[in-house]
Symmetry: none
């Protein structure tokens, strides 16, 4: 029984470390997180982390690759049901984007890259590709669909995509800062967001 437990642990270790690390990064940022606190949270010895990761940066990169990137990709890429009224499709897609972008792990990554991204230019680029560039692509598809259906003005395709996804990013920013002081009510925020967009696009 104990054997098995060890066995199971051995394989799960990197996962466990990443999981612990993400929680610590969330609370204290990258620079503010110590290997020791990760180890404590993961219930292992400090030096054991070095069995699986080169150094602290590697833990962060590991977290990035193993978790978040996939999470975002999966969640965003799942096929959308494009039948039904355009507004409904739009809303569905926005909700999905909110879901993936605001999930805690993704927020942590966003947060760390925001201030400590210069240390990880590669990751910054990959994050951009995975989230922002991807969002742009999806948006273009969606708008093209709307244009094809005649529900959307053709010239909206010229809009800078960041203008359109801005409220999503702002919601993330809010979560990281002013949520307690001045919360955002996500459902009604989304309603208004969809309302605004449909006025702009039609």
């Amino acid at each position: 029984m104990r054997e098995k437990k060890r066995q199971r642990r051995k394989e799960a270790r990197p996962e466990e470390i990443i999981s612990a690390a993400l929680k610590e990064f969330a609370n204290n940022g990258f620079a503010g997180t110590s290997i020791g606190s990760i180890a404590t949270r993961a219930g292992i010895a400090r030096s054991t982390i070095y069995v699986y990761f080169e150094d602290k940066e590697a833990v962060f990169e590991g977290a990035f690759k193993d978790r978040i990137e996939r999470a975002i990709r999966i969640s965003i890429n799942q096929a959308a049901d494009i039948n039904g009224p355009f507004d409904a499709v739009l809303r569905t897609m926005l909700e999905r984007v909110f879901n993936s972008f605001l999930q805690p792990d993704a927020l942590v990554l966003f947060k760390v890259l925001l201030t400590e991204g210069q240390q990880f230019p590669t990751l910054l680029e990959r994050y951009h590709a995975t989230t922002m560039a991807n969002a742009k692509r999806m948006l273009t598809q969606l708008l093209t669909l709307g244009v094809d259906r005649g529900e959307v003005r053709p010239d909206v395709l010229d809009y800078d995509h960041r203008l359109i996804i801005a409220p999503v990013i702002v919601t993330a920013v809010w979560r990281l800062t002013f949520e307690k002081i001045d919360p955002i009510d996500l459902p009604s925020f989304t309603d208004q967001y969809v309302d605004m967009l449909s006025r702009v696009l039609r």
Copy 2:
């Protein structure tokens, strides 16, 4: 070895230290910035910083109070010329907001509070009051003006203000992250922003 052993400039010192500190905070965040690096950049001894500031946090608070807060307030509060077409007024105001919010010192503050704000709840609140709550107030005034003139739908006053200012915040975020990878062209971005808003509001 040193140019002048003791330079006399008591009055300039805090300014100099804050200036150096902001540059370091910009590059490395709060936790990642060492008192030593601030001192070096300011061209003084490490211990001299402690003549003017209690500790590292006090340097940050000093930067906040002495510089940025005032800067933002001044820049935003300057009286707007509300004559002329509504779109023009809107554009003027947006440009002013961009100017104050995107100025380097304000960005640094935003960045630090974004990731290390939990350590400074008081400052976070003051920042919120100075920037976000203030923006909300101005926006309400502006929209009320538009409604009064008959150029704006009355029900836009119900919009969550964060939805409307989102592109400003996103521009700040972009500056801190993806600007190099995928830059924003501010003039045309602003044009589209105004265009979008006028469609939404009318």
Copy 3:
């Protein structure tokens, strides 16, 4: 450069550190002793001390608990042979008290508590209980014995015990201060002490 880079002696380390610390405390007091000097004397790195002790105070407390307290207790509590003439018993006991109280480690503790005791009220109290209160108890036992045997006046039990043990404490004080200038010859001092006491008690 170093003999053996990592010596394995986990179990001995705390002892070694305490031993080094006591020597430093003896020379420089608590405030005047640096962690660095303790480390150097112990032949280890400064930071290694923090593996075993929380901070400098903890080193002092460790020294107190691990060494001195036990030493004093053991030495004082060992059963006395109460047969034989009262003067002989008295002398035996005094010698034992001198032995325990004047041993170097105990002296160091006494010295530190004497001047820096306010920082360690708990230890001060424990020290008092271990040494002074204990001495009082022993003294009462001894005098009661003498009274029972008819060799001691019954009313000596009313004497303040500090009056009777004063020469012991003074010897300790002397060791810490004037020993070089004006030494005490312990054997003859003890003879006279016993002589005085027997005159007082009979």
Copy 4:
């Protein structure tokens, strides 16, 4: 008026500094006392201390010379009325010794010399001469007087004087350590002290 005040101050400065220093030494010992705290207590700037004293050690030496030494000498050397019964003379002298030795400034000096005396060998020696050697001299005089009168055994002159003055020193030690935990009632302590001595000496 202001002029006068300054004038008065100017001459009083060393006194004021010493007075402040003694209070700080009493609370924190020599090593634990900072020039800054002395200055603050004296209501002057840190650097002003260096106008009057070479360095921190000099402040201590100044305190020693200017105050305590004189105080002790005066208080002890005042002529004793040697008429009346021997016990009464003895008691008078003991009370006087207690008074001088337990006065706060003298205690501070005693305390500092006890732990940090190695740094001040000269002062230690002078302190010894002023207090202990002086006490020995006085004691010899007193005992000789008693012997001459036939009230004291001639061989008490052989007693080590430290045996006889021990309770005085112990009282000082107690004040510095266990007074709060286990106070000494000085009047009755003195009574018993005199009682003991008269039994020993007669």
